[in-house]
Amino acid sequence: MKVWKEKKKFLSSITLDVVALIVSVIIFIVPFVFILLMASKTRQEAALFEFTWPSEFQLFENILKVLGYHNNRMLLALLNSTIITISSVTLIVLFSSLVSFVMQRRADRMASVVSSIMLAGLIIPPAIVPTIFLLKSLHIYKSLFGMIMVDVAYTMPFAILIFRAFMGTIPRELDEAAIIDGIPPLRIFSSIILPLLRPAIVTIVVTSSVTIFNDFVGPLYFLPGSKNVTAPLTLFSFTSQFSSQWNLLFADVLIITIIPLIIFIFFQKQLISGMTSGAIKG
């Protein structure tokens, strides 16, 4: 009797899992399957928008076509996006770890002023035209460098938030001991603090590279021109050019979706813990 009851309990708990799995697959996975199917179809078949298996599997041809389209525009876009992402993430980690080290270790007026500016930076929507004006007067408008600087400025508040929270867990005695030993401040930072910050650095690298890589609004305003195209922007300009070639448009969507998927598979834990830890302290 008891065994039977337990079996029933186990079965009912499994049922809920199965039902939830089916529902979540329908709601969250079907759109991605749809992308894959559309990207593998021929032009005529894709125009029907049907959720069916392609009669001719053309995924690789479609992807090659998208990559080679318009003098390898897509390859250029991926290259530009990679350059922007890697350089801005490097600068973000460098600057914000230094800033948050100082902010966390001294509690004077300056630190509190800076921290309220950072809070403002998290909330306030950036003013676009003035920023363009500023970039123009510095002669870095429409350049990858200018875009990198803007990305660094927009992402730093979030990075500093995470670094500061993490820095609080590193005991102050550690740097005091180093000061007594006569080690110069910059070396204290580089050889004692920085290695200890590793988990926070991984978090910031992963989260901010996904955001910057996917950023659409930034390049739309600050990086016009076909030479400077970035990955999400290709989708946008392809919507008009590929309006009758949905298979190619979805091949493009697929290329752009695969990159975060790879990052997600490798860094799922850091990503989720990083995004929540920053959020909860905010």
Partner: protein, 265 residues
């Protein structure tokens, strides 16, 4: 160290000061133009509807999902992963995908609805629906991060609270009297984050409707872009300032209120 940091800071300042100080240089003509234009006021209204709707739906769904996942389901990691993944995908890519899924005649959503014998509305073409359709996709994309935050909140609740409810009361008591009050901090975070996100969102709306049909789903950010494209920089910046005032006027008091009501576990 004392050289690099001020440089980094000065650099950061130079980017943000513009946002803050520009308000003084505009003059009031742009604002008068803004307020008297019904299209722009419609955008203002849509922005508020969009932000309230998305953040409300995200918060409620996230609390339910997080409770279900942490309390009842075995494959926690798998569900978390499935729900979280859309957060990482390019918004434009999602917008394009859902525009095709929401196609009035051949799109998967309407084909399914037709199969079930339900009405098949024109999700994006109907001016009274389009804003809500986009908001729905926004919830789909963003609920993952909200759920993960609430889940972190639930996991932080000490086990003793749950042990008490095991003795008296069932699942409902556990949800109503333990989880809901004790994840309050996480809930506040979710509301704030998704509200700010909703007020500022642009890419999804632009990818799916471009503010259309007509101006039915225009929000402040899409109007800012339209004015910018048309060369009305002053008006565009005025829109930016309105957005800035809106965000600050709503978010700052909300944040103060939430901070006061925050609890220590």
């Amino acid at each position: 160290m004392f050289f690099l940091v001020p440089t980094a800071l000065a650099f950061y300042f130079s980017m943000t000061r513009w946002t803050l100080f520009d308000a003084t240089f505009i003059g009031f003509d742009n604002f008068i133009a803004f307020v008297s234009d019904p299209m722009l006021m419609g955008g203002l209204r849509n922005t508020i509807i969009y932000a309230v709707l998305t953040s409300g739906l995200k918060t409620v769904t996230a609390i339910l999902l997080a409770t279900l996942i942490t309390m009842r389901l075995r494959l926690k990691g798998l569900f978390r992963g499935i729900i979280f993944f859309p957060v990482l995908v390019s918004t434009i890519a999602i917008g394009i995908t859902f525009s095709s899924l929401m196609q009035p005649t051949e799109g998967l959503i309407n084909v399914t609805l037709g199969f079930l014998g339900l009405p098949q509305p024109d999700w994006l073409g109907n001016p009274r629906l389009s804003l809500y359709s986009v908001a729905f996709v926004d919830v789909w994309k963003g609920v993952g991060i909200a759920t993960v935050i609430i889940m972190a909140g639930i996991v932080a609740i000490p086990q003793t609270y749950f042990d008490v409810t095991k003795l008296e009361g069932g699942a409902w008591v556990r949800f109503r009297h333990v989880i809901l009050p004790l994840v309050r901090n996480a809930t506040y975070t979710v509301i704030l984050l998704s509200f700010i996100g909703g007020l500022r969102s642009f890419d999804l709306i632009w990818a799916m409707t471009r503010g259309g049909p007509g101006f039915a789903s225009d929000v402040l950010t899409s109007l800012i872009y339209k004015q910018y494209q048309a060369g009305f920089y002053g008006l565009s910046t005025a829109g930016n300032v309105v957005l800035f005032i809106l965000v600050t006027a709503i978010v700052y008091p909300l944040m103060r209120y939430f901070n006061r009501r925050e609890i220590e576990i």
